[in-house]
């Protein structure tokens, strides 16, 4: 099938549906988890973006917010949980510990320098911990990324292997 106006519009419609109902998985590891909980509470409401349903199980979630330091002992579990999520799935790395190791990069013999060593990351949110507004901006950036995906126009395979 070639590109055309019909497929573009259908693509946009499907992406609109998917980006406005991202269901995050509760993967709070450390201090950033508290800021994630505060973002979901009533002052900085995450429900209005459609992301209010925090699923505890990875089978039903499509966004994994890695909030906190990933240690070597935990890294295998992060990978297992990510593999249990169903496609299409996205990973948002929250906080400087999940981005590149955070304040523990120098002498942290047990700290993984960034969660990107084990799972592929879509959006990075810097901060230690990032403010709730920063996390909301990260989710909006992810929504922009999802809006530009070509579902029907090009056969998509993400995250092979």
């Amino acid at each position: 099938m070639q590109d055309g106006i019909v497929l573009t519009k259908v693509d946009e419609f499907l992406s609109w549906g998917r980006k406005n109902s991202l269901w995050p998985m509760t993967f709070g590891l450390a201090c950033c988890a508290i800021e994630m909980m505060a973002t979901g509470a009533n002052k900085y409401d995450l429900e209005r973006f459609g992301c209010g349903a925090f699923m505890a199980t990875p089978r039903r979630a499509d966004l994994m917010i890695v909030a906190g330091t990933v240690t070597l002992k935990m890294a295998t579990r992060v990978r297992t949980l990510w593999e249990q999520m169903a496609e299409p799935k996205y990973v948002l790395s929250m906080g400087s510990c999940a981005n590149k190791g955070g304040p523990y990069w120098q002498h942290g013999y047990h700290v993984l320098k960034g969660v990107e060593e084990v799972v592929p990351v879509d959006v990075y949110v810097p901060g230690c911990p990032p403010r709730p507004e920063a996390l909301i901006e990260g989710i909006m950036t992810l929504q922009k990324k999802i809006a530009s995906e070509r579902l029907l126009r090009k056969k998509w395979i993400k995250h092979v292997g």
Binding site: L72, K73, A75, T76, K100, G101, W105, H107, Y109, H110, V111, L112, K113, G114, E117, V118
Partner: protein, 193 residues
């Protein structure tokens, strides 16, 4: 108060070589040092029969002085009228296979504290009910808080210190391969440390 305690212990346990260490420059806490062999009998005495009953073991902290290892027991007395805490020290001169008796039947709080001391410094506690590492994974090599600890670059296929994220030339505490770690260990064993 600590002087009276030291006198009592000296009279009751002459083999324990009880010594009082006052802080060398005047500020800080004093501590009592005993030999490793007399640890259990002194602890039983301190918990049950001493006039200041030390009911609670707060923390066991291990320190690596390069010539010897030191294990400190912080004991506390939880009477409402007078509260008291003291530091009990034991010196272990054998760095290759340090071992000590476990006090986890005297104070059950010692169970997890001793596991952490083993995990961080390598002190083996005899007759411990559940002896394994607590903070680091079970297949971790080395004891992190020793002064000659060199971290490994790889663990189970994951890069702990990736080249593009670190300035490796300045990092003398990171090794690049397992064989280099074995060489370093042989060197420190040969020195008798």
């Amino acid at each position: 108060m600590l002087d009276e305690l030291v006198q009592e212990l000296k009279s009751k346990f002459p083999n324990a070589q009880v010594q009082l260490h006052n802080p060398p420059e005047g500020v800080g806490s004093s501590s009592i040092e005993i030999t490793p062999q007399s640890l259990r009998e002194v602890c039983f005495y301190l918990r049950d029969q001493s006039p200041l009953k030390f009911q609670v073991l707060q923390v066991i902290s291990g320190i690596d002085y390069v010539d010897y290892l030191e294990v400190c027991y912080m004991l506390a007395n939880f009477d409402l009228n007078r509260s008291y805490e003291m530091i009990l020290k034991v010196k272990l001169s054998d760095r290759v296979n340090p071992s000590l008796d476990s006090v986890s039947d005297i104070w059950p709080a010692a169970n997890w504290q001793e596991r952490e001391c083993y995990d961080m410094l390598g002190v083996v506690f005899k007759n411990h009910p559940d002896f394994r590492r607590i903070l680091c994974p079970d297949d971790w090599e080395g004891f992190p808080l020793r002064k000659d600890y060199v971290a490994a670059k790889f663990y189970n296929g994951m890069q702990v210190y990736p080249d593009h994220k670190m300035n490796l030339e300045e990092r003398s505490y990171i090794i690049h391969s397992k064989s280099q770690a074995e060489e370093l260990q042989k060197k420190s064993l040969a020195k008798g440390l």
